[in-house]
Structure formats: C-alpha cells, structure tokens
C-alpha cells in the first residue's frame, strides 16, 4: 500500500469530470429521455392495504382515446411469481396501499391518467396489518398465508418470516457480574430515502424482441437481470443504459417500473416512458424499516461492559427482507463485549416492501444501544467518550458477528473527538450535548474496469457503477495516481451493460473500494504494457524498464542511452509496437474495511413549542484514506443531515386502513437549509490494508450515529429520556406534559 507522503493526486479535491454538465442542466437523468413516438405509461395502484384481487379488466381502458397498451399481473409469466415479480405487479393479492395492480400506455400523460380510471378491479378487502405488535401477536391476520418462520412448515404460518440469533459467552453470568445495568426499548419509524429524483425509465422493445431500458438506478446490471427475471427473458435480450441518478441511498437498488415499461412497449410497438410522481415514490417504493428494539447492557463500576443483549424486530413490508442481518451485526460492533446475545425478527406487514437505506438496519439498532450506553455512562458518572474508549473494539477484537477486526479506526476517532475543539467547547446555556458511535461493515463484491489510452495519451476509464456522489472523480484520481499522470489527463465514464464489464450495484459503500481497486489494477495492466512497448522500442527486456512518474525509463544500472517515453509517446507509436493500449481488470474484492464514526451534537429543545434546533454538529470518521476529501466530507455531512432528519421529524404516518397520510415533502418533512447549521467534519485515516490506497467505504456510516447523538443531546437538556423517534414537536410536548 502506498504511503501518504508518496501520493501526488490521491487526497486532492479537483472538480469532477461530469461537473460542468451537472451545473448547466445538460446531464441527463432518468426522466430526461424523450424519443419520437414515445408513449407515457402510468400505474394503477391498490387503494387498499390488503385485498384479494378477484379480477382485473383492462378492456375499457384499452378502448379509450390515445391508449395503445394495458397490462395487469396476468400478462407476466406465471412461473416467475417470486417476491420481486409480485412486488412489481400484484397477482392474487394487493399487499399495501400503492401496490401496482395494472398499467397503461397512452399518447399523452393525461390520456394515460384518464385510462387508469377505466380499469375495473374487483377487490375483496382484507384487514390490514400495520404494526409490529399487531403482526407478531398471536392470531394475527396473515400477510402471506403460506409464510412460515424460517420456512419451518411444522409450525403454523406466521408474519415473522425470519428469526435469527447469535450468542457469545454466558449472558446471565455477565449480567450477574455487572455493577450497573441499563435496559430500555426504542421505536424508530419508517423513513424514506427521500432522493429528489423520482424513479423513471424509458423502454423500447424492437421487433426482434430486444429491449433497451434507460433508467435511473444504482446498478444497471441488476436492472438487467431482475427485469429479465420478471419478464422471463434472457439477459442477452435486455440492454440497460444508466442515466445520471438523482440520489438513491439504497432505494434505487431494485426495480419497479422497468418490466412494466418493457411490456407496454412490446404490446404497443412504441417507446414507453414511465415516471413516478412523488406520491407514488412514498406510497410504493421501499423505505427503511420501522423498528422496535429492546436492549440491555451491563458494566462494572469502571465502565467495563460485562454483557449486552439486543432483541430487534424490523418491519419488512409486504415481502420478507428487512435488514435484520446488518441490524444485528451492527448493534454491538463497536464494542468488545464478552457475553452477548442478539436476536433479529423480519416481520411482514401490509406496507411497501422495505428497501436498503444507507447502512440498512444499522441506524435503528445502534440508536437503541447508543442510547442505553449513554444512560450507563450517566449512571457511572463517566464521560460518554471514556466509557466507549474503555470498551472500544480494536485490531484483533472479535466482532460480535464472527470475524476478527483487521486495523480499524474507532479508537482513533474517539481520541480525535475527545481532543476536538467542538467537544472541549462549553455548551450554550440551556442546550444539551449528545454523542454516539456509528459503524458500517462495508462490502466488496464484483467489479470490472477498462482503461483505454488515446493516441494523444489521454486516459479513458470505463467502469459500470452509476456515479451518485462523485465517484468518477475518485476513479480518475486513483487512475492518475497509479499511472503517474495529471488528473486532467484522465476521464472516467460509466458504461452501459453492453459497453463495459459487469459491476455489482453502487451500494454497500463498495464503489471507491472495489471498483477503485479494479481501476488501479487496469492501470497496472497499462503500465506493464507500456514497459513492454518501451522495451521493444529500446531493444531491451520489459524487466529492464521501469515506470516512474508517468514515463517509461530504463531501470537503474541498465545501460541505454534513451529518452524517457511518456504515455503520450508510447500511445502515439502504439501501432508500431502492437496496437492500441487497453488495460483491463476484473475482480471479486475482498477485505472491505469497516468504517467507524463518532458524532456529537449540541441541540436545544424549545420547551414551549417542542421544536428542537440543531446548534452544532461534528462528525469524525475513519475513511481509511480519503481519495477525494471534499466528497468524503460531503458523504459525512449528507449522512449526518439525513440521520438528523430521521431523528427530528421524518416518519410515515398511516391511517387505520393503511393509507399513507403524508406522501409528499410538505408533510414528510426532510431537513431544509434553514434547519441545519454547518456540519463540521474530521476525517481520520487508518488505511485499509486490503486496498492499494487504503480505502474504506465511507458512504453509509455517516447516517448511523446522528439518531442517538440527537436523542442523547435532548436527554442531556431535558433531564429525562424520550426513547422513541422522531423527536418531533408533538412527541416532545407529550413527553414534557407527562413529566409535568
């Protein structure tokens, strides 16, 4: 791994390659493609949270003005009735208010909307299942009558789709040894990723059966395989072109509209564009799980943890898949706890199927545990950083989920926080301060990259991860550093499914780590070729040629009277030395380093109105190595504000029949500029030994700690704890009333 002092380009923050198009309105996003003869597709959605669909008749809609195609669940292959297909379009049952039931394509948006009203659906309305308590109660209405917990058909069907647990040591003995024990339970509501760009796509199917899909997605290779699955097609018959993507945060890792648009295009013979409204995004796409977490933690008088337990129940929505795995992995990951038990429950309810949201599952479980640890510190009269330092995981600590940590940066982050001016600064009159730790394990997975050298030495990097937050800049920086050329000489591009090699989704904070590693290896391939080309030119062996600062030079001691050859020199003569320079790499990246953070906030509750103001917020996080520090800070700041939004205001509010009452940004209130202060950041760098430049994923950890940091700050000011989120004015006022 390169030492920081040797780096020339990595660690600078230049303007991104796609920047000019994004500030001038030229960058094309999901809804920005219009084609000749294009139709508009619209979706009919269930008005019921739970209903048997007895029949769907689209014939009146098909006869309406301008309508060229209409589909329902019956138009999709019946042997593909997996959860994903049934979420894309309902078959026998509608499982949430907003579940797609039919779709039409017409010449204008207005004609398509009018046609939806002509679709006849015969529903038998069933009772909704809207809360974890209801879903897990004995005799609960079943969301799926054939769902058995963990597939165990010897037991009666249940809304608990999956139950998992892991245990270490002897929990009872551990609690018996504790001098102080804190036990509490916490609920966190459903929150939406709130990306500003609604889902959109344009699909065309040609007469030969080949579909082309333009869409906003975090992973176009996944769109290809998932759409192929739902339609019963081969991936070879589907090309997916990723548009620019207007935010995802995990929410654009699956498909909703794409198979419908392809089918409508197939039936009409026209391109079909589909765009969700904001209301549809809220009602029908996957938000984060609402959760119920019970935690218990015990410690000796000196703060040493003796035991901890966590019981987690996460709403999955209509199909299994709540992130209980990551919730369980994260809840105690920052600490070395000798005795622990962690249990997770994946619970079906008649609400939209949940989807990934930035560190999926971790903010909720860690909110509960970090609140409990805060109370423990108070009981022991310890500083919240000291109690965490006392128990912090470090290199060699066995994570609760099994593996032993390689070098990690938690202790360094805690120490940095302890010495930070914002932590040493006295608290403003009447305010509270709260601190919490965040964690995300990060992932590797498969990536490919290609590096092409043009005849003038310009470098083109091709890879397959949609750029959501500046990853083209990171790829170009790593390529420039590896090749030894200026950043400006490199342009990074995101190719479609047919112009670049396979890459897994942009998610799990894997792109800069895994795809970055592929880019570095593809550049090393180029360097090897350049050494060979120079050797050929100089009549030497490739082993006698070095690559230094972007030039081929004879190795020290090699007797050759030649001038160094730059990338441009070699590229210009490439035809004479074997043809164009093309470097490639593909890999399944291992060793994604976990990223820890420490966040604290100063906040003030107005006890008359219940409104909480954020006075200051500081985020310290281990980035391994920041390739583009400004974008790393941006991840930390953006995640902080998303976490604060969840803690302050954001929640899905349902009526008793399961209709979402706040499906818009007016009533689902995400933070606006005037709600927030500057978000101070400090990047800690404990390099990840598995990456050539030491990268750890940084995108997800930032959302984790703010929830508990704010809860702990409000606790600090008020003198009592409000366990549940959000700390919205109604909840805070109710709690104040209760306290008298």
């Amino acid at each position: 791994m390169a030492e920081a002092v040797d780096l020339k380009v990595v660690g600078t923050s230049p303007v991104r390659p796609d920047g000019v198009d994004k500030v001038t309105g030229r960058a094309a996003f999901g809804a920005d493609l219009n084609l000749p003869g294009m139709l508009y597709g619209k979706v009919l959605r269930s008005p019921h949270a739970h209903a048997r669909i007895k029949s769907v008749d689209v014939s009146r809609a098909l006869a309406a003005d301008g309508v060229l195609a209409a589909v329902s669940g019956a138009d999709f292959p019946s042997d593909r009735l997996d959860d994903l297909a049934r979420n894309v379009i309902a078959r026998d049952k509608a499982l949430y208010n907003g579940h797609a039931v039919a779709a039409v394509a017409a010449k204008t948006q207005q004609q398509a909307e009018a046609a939806l009203e002509l679709i006849d659906v015969d529903y038998e309305v069933l009772d909704p299942v809207l809360t974890l308590d209801e879903a897990m109660a004995a005799g609960a209405t079943l969301v799926n009558e054939s769902q058995h917990t963990n597939g165990d058909t010897s037991k009666p069907p249940s809304n608990i789709a999956v139950q998992q647990a892991f245990e270490r040591g002897d929990v009872d003995k551990g609690f018996a040894e504790a001098d102080v024990i804190v036990e509490s339970e916490h609920r966190v509501p459903t929150a939406h990723q709130g990306y500003i760009e609604p889902h959109a796509c344009t699909a065309t199917m040609n007469a030969g059966g080949k579909a082309t899909i333009w869409c906003c997605t975090q992973g176009h290779f996944d769109v290809r395989s998932l759409t192929a699955g739902v339609l019963g097609k081969s991936v070879g018959n589907i090309k997916v072109i990723p548009s620019e993507i207007g935010g995802g945060f995990g929410g654009k890792t699956i498909i909703y509209l794409e198979p419908l648009a392809v089918k409508l295009s197939e039936l009409s013979g026209r391109p079909v564009k589909m765009m969700m409204t904001r209301e549809e995004v809220f009602r029908a796409t996957g938000p984060a799980s609402a959760t119920w977490c019970k935690v218990k933690v015990g410690a000796k008088k000196d703060g040493t943890f003796t035991a901890a337990t966590a019981w987690l129940a996460y709403e999955a929505g209509a199909f299994p898949g709540a992130p209980i795995g990551p919730g369980c992995m994260s809840v105690l990951a920052p600490y070395d706890v000798p005795n622990l038990r962690i249990e997770g429950n994946d619970v079906l309810v008649t609400k939209p199927r949940v989807c990934a949201y930035r560190a999926p599952g971790a903010p909720q479980s860690m909110h509960a545990m970090e609140c409990a640890i805060d109370e423990l510190a108070r009981k022991l009269d310890m500083d919240p950083i000291d109690i965490r330092l006392k128990n912090a995981a470090d290199e060699g600590t066995q994570a609760p989920y099994g593996p032993t940590f390689p070098p990690i940066g938690l202790k360094k982050c805690l120490e940095a926080a302890k010495n930070h001016p914002n932590y040493l600064k006295p608290l403003a009159e009447g305010a509270g301060r709260g601190l919490a730790v965040g964690f995300w394990f990060n992932i590797g997975m498969q990536s490919s990259a290609e590096v092409r050298i043009a005849e003038d030495g310009m470098v083109t990097v091709m890879e397959g991860n949609p750029d959501i937050g500046g990853s083209r800049a990171s790829m170009a920086l790593m390529a420039a550093e590896t090749l030894g050329v200026p950043y400006e000489q490199v342009k990074a591009h995101v190719g479609d499914t047919e112009s670049t090699g396979f890459c897994n989704v942009t998610g799990g904070s894997r792109t800069t780590f895994a795809t970055g590693m592929a880019v570095v290896q593809a550049c090393e391939d180029i360097i090897a070729q350049c050494r060979q080309r120079a050797a050929l030119t100089w009549d030497l062996d490739a082993e006698q040629v070095d690559w230094v600062d972007g030039e081929a030079v004879p190795k020290p001691g090699v007797n050759a009277d030649v001038k160094p050859l730059s990338l441009a020199n070699i590229a210009r003569r490439a035809g004479r030395t074997g043809g164009p320079l093309l470097g490639r790499a593909s890999l399944n990246a291992q060793g994604a380093g976990a990223s820890f953070s420490v966040n604290w906030t100063d906040a003030r509750v107005d006890t008359e109105t219940g409104k909480t103001d954020i006075l200051a917020f500081t985020a310290v996080q281990d980035a391994g190595r920041a390739i583009h520090p400004a974008y790393v800070e941006g991840q930390m700041q953006g995640g902080a504000v998303q976490g604060l939004g969840w803690a302050l205001n954001e929640e899905y509010i349902y009526d008793e029949r399961g209709a979402l009452e706040n499906p818009g940004f007016l009533d689902y209130r995400v933070p606006v500029a005037s709600d927030m202060p500057m978000i101070d950041t400090q990047i800690v760098e404990v390099p990840n030994p598995s990456h050539p430049y030491g990268v750890r994923g940084v995108g997800e950890t930032p959302i984790v700690a703010p929830l508990a940091a704010l809860s702990n700050a409000v606790r600090d000011q008020l003198g009592f704890r409000i366990n549940d989120l959000p700390l919205s004015p109604p909840r805070v006022l109710a709690a104040l009333d209760e306290q008298g």
Binding site: K22, P198, G247, R278, G469, G639, M676
Partner: protein, 159 residues
C-alpha cells in the same frame, strides 16, 4: 380541448408553443420544449428542483401553468451560463463540491442567482432561508452554503 398558443421569451430567445390549458410550465419545458435541465422532484412546489426565474423572480415552474408564461421573460438553468463559459455561481458550486448526485443542482443554482441578484452580500442565515425552498438530500447543505458565500465574494470582486 384545444391547445393554447403561447408566446414567451426563454433564455433570451423568443419562443412560441402550443400547450394544453392544464399543463404546468414544468411539463411544457421538459416534455414539449426539450429543456430538461429543469427537474421535477415533487410537482407540488415543495422541493424547488424545478426553479426558474420569471421576470427575474424565483418561481417553482411546477406551480405555474404553461399558458401563464405568455409575454414573460423566463430564465432556466440552460440560460445561466453565458457564451464565455460558466457563470461564477456554477463555477463555485463545482469548486466547493456543492453537488453530489446533481438532481437538485439546477434549482439551487437558479435560486442562488435570484438571491444574489437581490442581496449581494447575504449572511449565512439569509442564504439558508433563501434556499429553504430547495431540497438537497445529498450534501446536508454545508457545501452549498459555502458555494453561495464564495459566489457572493467573487461577484463582489468582479463588480
């Protein structure tokens, strides 16, 4: 229903179009005139992604009808950069890494232009309240506010 003839000025060009009486200005810009730089985030006036200037005033184009654009001067994101290159505001957004995904950026830049046209030296609070109608989910606003501050400084220096 018959379409209405509208004559307007967009980014300095005289533009004529036919639109349905119910169509929003946003829909006309994006779907009929090909000006897709103006974005739709909500279509209910809550996110500001569709911000345009109407006779110099900041407006959500999703809340205005296409027919209301008759005889006005419209500025969209496509009209912010001049023939000499990027506007200072655009340059500062890039330098300060004030965009991540970029979907809200056109609206923010148009709103920043409206702010700085009116207040050449706004303090942080003024900036935050002026931009409170524009949602950004990626940046947490920190770098956007800094880009606006830097734009104001650069414009003052130019003036």
């Amino acid at each position: 229903m018959s379409k209405v003839h509208v004559s307007t000025t967009i980014n300095g060009d005289v533009v004529e179009f036919l639109c349905e009486p119910h169509q929003s200005l946003l829909e006309v810009l994006r779907e009929d005139l090909g000006l897709t730089g103006t974005k739709e985030g909500c279509a209910t006036g809550d996110c500001g992604a569709c911000s345009v200037l109407v006779d110099g005033r900041l407006v959500c184009s999703c809340l205005m009808l296409g027919v209301e654009a008759d005889s006005v001067e419209l500025t969209t994101i496509e009209g912010i950069a001049g023939p000499d290159g990027l506007h200072v505001i655009q340059q500062k957004y890039l330098e300060h890494a004030a965009l991540q995904c970029g979907i809200c950026t056109p609206g923010f830049i148009v709103a920043t232009k409206a702010l700085l046209d009116k207040h050449s030296d706004p303090d942080e609070t003024t900036i935050r309240y002026w931009l409170a109608g524009n949602l950004c989910r990626c940046t947490g606003y920190d770098k956007i506010v800094r880009a606006v501050q830097a734009s104001a400084e650069a414009l003052a220096y130019e003036a």
